[in-house]
Symmetry: C2
Subunit: 404 residues, 2 copies
């Protein structure tokens, strides 16, 4: 269907023009409300007027930045990559909301409404423990990363996958600029407490740190391990005690696996820092640290199990590697991946303190003295991660490092 902007006046007509959606609602009238508060897109909730259990989410990209208006153009084709990646991920993992309809031309995706779930970041701010989260998210990552890598796909399929996402240039550039660049230099988009000016300047002149950041940025741009979510923080996860869903994958591209894993670890650590600075709930802090270890350990378990049952892939021709070679290479592969994840986590943590986009866990700390304390702790953790990531050999190193 040719592109047109959807709003509450034409959305019902549009939805009823799609047979599978008309069929789902089986109603003559829908209640439409705009519920999105994101920066980029419009999000509507459509509910059957006669059966309130029938609800779907409609998400559409407009050719500008939603929060800024038409004077800030941004290609609506970004939705293409969200559509493609959500569809790809939903074939590989159950932790993706059910997709009812998608249309690249219309930049629209229609999905299951997760009415009983909340954004994980908000849940963590409220100290809610999610007992299944570590298992779910590590399983999601093991499946999506392994099965889109050269360890699983054929050489030709891997190249096709890269070419499907290589056009996601605008959003990759946002990451290059706002995760790896602007926060570490004098830049008008940076937005930190004035009290942090001294440390921001010190960071901008830290040769060792910046060389490591360039290495990591180069990997982000040029290392095509697997199809990434591309923005896997706790704000991209819908959760409750039972279930976990990953959403908002418009940054998807084929890049280094450690970038997804690192984004997740970074955001868990920022929540840990927020609680550490603000409250005495040691159980919750301990849960977060255990969660990080469980995520990595279960990720390794599931990733390597998938690997062990794969006989032929782009990288590993059947018969090339005997079991000793395989074991030795796996060990090295996973260790490098852990190190890169921690390096990327460091960049993610630091940029959230200095750059344009903070995280609510820390930016929301009301007492500005405590907020500064949290910022400083986060910067110090991030710096250590970036500088020392190549020395890390096991996930326990992280808890030890944080507790020290």
């Amino acid at each position: 269907m040719r592109y047109k902007i959807l709003d509450s006046s034409n959305l019902q007509e549009y939805l009823f023009s799609l047979p599978e959606i008309k069929n789902y609602f089986n109603a003559t009238k829908l209640i439409i409300s705009e519920i999105g508060d994101g920066n980029l897109n419009f999000v509507f909730l459509a509910t059957s007027a006669t059966d309130s259990s029938k609800q779907l989410i409609v998400k559409q990209a407009v050719p500008y930045l939603r929060c800024a208006g038409e004077s800030y153009p941004l290609s609506k084709e970004r939705m293409t990559y969200e559509i493609r990646s959500l569809e790809a991920f939903s074939k590989l993992s159950q932790h993706i909301p059910k997709i009812y309809h998608s249309d690249e031309e219309m930049s629209v995706i229609i999905m299951e409404f997760l009415g009983e779930h909340i954004i994980m970041r908000k849940g963590m701010i409220e100290s809610i423990i999610y007992p299944n989260f570590a298992k779910h998210i590590s399983s999601y990552m093991a499946n999506t990363l392994f099965k889109t890598s050269s360890l699983y796909l054929s050489s030709a399929d891997k190249r096709s996958l890269i070419s499907e996402y290589i056009g996601n240039a605008e959003l990759c550039k946002l990451t290059e600029d706002f995760v790896f660049t602007a926060p570490f230099m004098k830049h008008e988009t940076n937005a930190h407490l004035p009290e942090l000016s001294d440390v921001a300047e010190k960071i901008a002149n830290d040769v060792e740190l910046k060389v490591k950041i360039l290495e990591l940025k180069n990997k982000f741009m040029n290392q095509s391990d697997a199809l990434l979510h591309g923005d896997l923080h706790t704000g991209s996860i819908m959760i409750n005690k039972q279930e976990t869903y990953v959403i908002d994958s418009e940054f998807a591209f084929v890049g280094p696996m450690g970038f997804d894993i690192g984004a997740l670890i970074a955001n868990l650590i920022m929540s840990w820092i927020s609680h550490k600075i603000q409250d005495d709930n040691e159980t919750y802090q301990e849960w977060i640290l255990e969660c990080i270890e469980k995520i990595w350990n279960n990720f390794v378990l599931e990733f390597c199990a998938l690997w062990d049952e794969t006989q032929e892939s782009a990288l590993l021709t059947d018969g090339f590697a005997n079991s000793d070679v395989l074991k030795a290479y796996q060990k090295e592969y996973m260790q490098t991946l852990l190190q890169e994840s921690i390096g990327f986590a460091g960049c993610k943590i630091m940029r959230r303190q200095l750059g344009i986009a903070g995280v609510e866990d820390i930016r929301g700390i009301e007492d500005s003295h405590l907020r500064e304390k949290a910022n400083r702790l986060a910067l110090s953790v991030g710096e250590t991660f970036i500088k020392k990531h190549q020395n890390i050999t096991k996930i326990d190193d992280i808890s030890k490092l944080l507790k020290a």
Copy 2:
């Protein structure tokens, strides 16, 4: 123009249908001869019947393997990548033959005839010293690699470049199979002396070696540094004492820079081994080793000079890195590149001893005892390169290693 297979009966008509070619010859009759002896394509020499100084090369891919006939289909679209890359390289370096016409649909390229040059491999077998070669080829590599990398292009342009070559799947797969895989396992395509069966088996079971090969293969498949020639051996170079031209870039793709540099070094070393085993011409052997050092040193010089004069690129935003950061990162970047080059050189050397495609320098040694000696020396050098490449810190290490 729609694809049709060219032969000596229809080539003149085709050439005269192209205004720029008709104009170049300014003749009514051409003398056509088929001169190609490669495995893949047809190559014709077209000469004006009235002015023998007017000569052009016409190269066309057919939808099968030339040397095997129509029963071995191979996509003629491979020529697309040769056309694109030769045109790209000719904008960046003077060491590319002049292109008069190209047509992706016809899988045809029409180029300058290099009548006063020979294939460098043949020249080296005849112990010819090429005094300008090191300077020329290092300049070619510095310019083509730097200017197609994230150190020079914008983020969006780099992504476009990747997408232009991501479809070259068939030829990349040939490299993955025949450089990184088959030679290091029991495989029906391998073709070595029966006397080498013991060492081939030892290699196939060498855990340390195979883990390193997997690392390098993974980089070949997933590290998109720059636009590579993809098959830069001495058989892809047309040369005389004055001039150097790079040809035959159908393997072009965006991959790790070290793969081009390593291919070149590997083939120079195989020539060195051939001379070392067969003759007493120490001057020539010494020239080869000096050549390798000069190539690397001049490459670094020109590459870093281009880098120093680049103010803004995908990787290095203007103002991000002060001169200390830049110097430290450059040093590390070049050292990693040297190490990767040596690692790839090791794979290239070993595969030429064990795999389907030998090199004339060594396979052409008539005395089978000497040939075996050369094979064994090459295998030992290759193995050391692969296992130890991450310990190499300067190019002199190579000569020392070879002399030891």
